[in-house]
């Protein structure tokens, strides 16, 4: 199913059905990857980092918090309230960024700049494929 999706999404080889390995390679254990993906905020952080090309300086934590809050509350970033942003900020700071650091996906600097340590585009590709394959209802 994943490989058909890959093909349909244009990632896979046309003459089909090579497995995922030829397309997605992640230098982490499956334990770490699947732990990291088991939370929507962490998934959104990975997606946000994947959208940033070679940003060596990293993304400020506050910006990540706004991005996550906007998605959670289904509104544009400009409309995110202070409480919504703060809620996401605390969750990221206290729980999710440490988990993503422990699993070897990101590094957080002393000035709270977040940068990827592995190729987050590969991770984002993987998580989007799994989400797209899920047909059992929407995200809460």
């Amino acid at each position: 199913m994943i490989r058909e999706l890959l093909g349909a999404a244009g990632y896979g080889p046309d003459a089909g059905a090579d497995d995922l390995t030829t397309d997605i390679r992640i230098p982490l254990t499956n334990d770490d990857v699947l732990e990291a993906l088991d939370n929507r905020r962490r998934r959104e952080v990975i997606r946000r980092l994947a959208g940033t090309a070679d940003d060596t300086a990293g993304i400020p934590l506050g910006e990540l918090a706004e991005y996550v809050a906007a998605i959670e509350n289904g509104k544009p970033v400009e409309k995110v309230t202070t409480d919504e942003r703060k809620n996401a900020y605390v969750g990221l700071y206290q729980a999710h960024l440490p988990t993503l650091e422990d699993t070897g996906i990101i590094a957080v600097s002393e000035s709270n700049l977040v940068r990827p340590v592995v190729d987050t585009q590969e991770l984002a590709k993987l998580l989007t494929l799994i989400e797209d394959a899920c047909e059992g209802g929407d995200q809460p």
Partner: protein
């Protein structure tokens, strides 16, 4: 014969595939734990129901990389308890397996096989050693 209806094509020109009948949150939660992944794989590959005891022997053998016949009762019991107190009910709640807490017997649902496939694909994509084998 009339037109071929069921040719593995959904009519859009793309091959059909087996979707996962779960919400993404449930799917990710189910496969985030190593023992739960192993249960999913075992049930997906089994034609019959599996009891918690059978699963615990299988998981113990894999975790200790020994033959199932060499699993000690202590090794088996530790896993058995985590399965019946936690993982089997969690997987049932998520819709990934059917688990009967009275008979302590687990069976596949229509989500089991597709999720097992995801586990195997992720495991193949991840090339850092130290994870579990699918």
């Amino acid at each position: 014969m009339t037109a071929v209806e069921d040719d593995g094509n959904d009519g859009s020109g793309r091959a059909t595939y087996s979707a996962i009948p779960l919400a993404p949150d449930n799917a990710f939660e189910a496969i985030s734990n190593r023992r739960r992944r192993r249960v999913i794989l075992s049930l997906a590959h089994s034609d019959d129901d599996l009891t918690a005891r059978e699963l615990s022997v299988e998981l113990a053998a894999i975790e200790h990389t020994i033959d199932p016949s060499a699993v000690t009762s202590e090794q088996r019991t530790r896993i058995y308890i985590s399965l019946i107190q936690n993982h089997l009910q969690t997987l049932d709640d998520l819709g990934v397996i059917d688990y009967d807490g009275r008979s302590k017997s687990a069976s596949a649902t229509d989500a089991t096989a597709s999720l097992a496939e995801v586990v195997q694909q992720v495991t193949t994509a991840c090339y850092q050693p130290g994870g579990d084998d699918a």
